[in-house]
Symmetry: C2
Subunit: 185 residues, 2 copies
């Protein structure tokens, strides 16, 4: 792992969540370590996220996002508000289950798909932490460690130590921002 992101965000039904994200250098070694510390494998999902721009608002400037996530046959619409705290990345997130035809409605209303983030996500559970191992198309392998309890912040840092993660390896960008960054290169 070379980079990490620590963030607390407000998610579904306005719960607070601590989230840590970083790049994985060696996927096999990483998942072996996960198994060795006793992390329980939960599931593997193929997630396709389509991000939309706003007909009269620059989401990049307002730090908002509108996303349609497809997981198998299920579709979710998610609005992400601007980060309230840059350090912890606390932000409002409203997510609803939806019909895939929401995409057509958004297009009719002037929203346009600007980027797609495809990933294979393998989820693990360790104590009360939720660990997502993501293979992101065009970007590589990443890990996200999440907890619904803000008090788990220190526990997450202990897990980071197990993987030899340094604080200066934190990633500040979302997958969408990383894709935009690559497009500009």
């Amino acid at each position: 792992m070379t980079a990490w992101l620590l963030c607390c965000r407000q998610i579904k039904f306005k719960m607070l969540e601590v989230e840590v994200k970083g790049k994985i250098k060696d996927l096999k070694e990483f998942e072996n370590t996960l198994k060795n510390i006793g992390a329980k494998f939960l599931k593997e999902e193929i997630q396709e996220d389509v991000y939309f721009n706003h007909p009269c608002r620059d989401f990049e400037k307002t730090d908002e996002a509108l996303r349609i996530r497809k997981i198998n046959n299920e579709v979710f619409l998610t609005y992400k508000g601007k980060r309230i705290d840059k350090e912890t990345k606390t932000r409002e997130e409203i997510e609803i289950k939806c019909d895939e035809k929401i995409s057509e409605i958004l297009t009719k209303l002037g929203f346009n798909a600007v980027a797609t983030v495809k990933k294979i996500r393998r989820e693990y559970e360790f104590e009360n932490l939720h660990i997502c191992v993501d293979n992101v198309e065009h970007l590589g392998n990443f890990v996200e460690i999440e907890s619904k309890e803000l008090k788990d912040r220190n526990k997450i840092f202990e897990i980071l130590n197990l993987f030899g993660i340094k604080k200066d390896e934190i990633i500040k960008k979302s997958y969408l921002e990383m894709i935009f960054q690559n497009q500009r290169k």
Copy 2:
């Protein structure tokens, strides 16, 4: 009945539908006649429709509409495109089942609720016609006769004759437009 609306519209999954709408003068007499001709009562629903404006588009000028309909615990999001044919009122309509938190997402995106249409709808079936008897808050009693078959246009006119409906009694406006009209008075 004093006024009627004939319209063909494109509805869910882009099917074409013939729709006739008119004002009911005497609700009891109207429903008695329905029973006498052999119309089958299907169900009664309380429908609450909230209409939204667009953050940077005047829906009144573009002849579009965005609506959240609540029926008991079910929520539907509907986009209505502009009428393609003013005479037949053919228009595109995309409707999806949704979570009620779609309202919060729309508000975050700059859409604002501009009007609410509440009605008690009693639905009847007669041959292959779908008949809705609506008691609309602040507007009164109306009937809508619908068929998925364009060829039923003449049959609908025969039904109109049974109720003594004249062509010049056709209503050109939607409930939303009628509510806006009342607000301007």
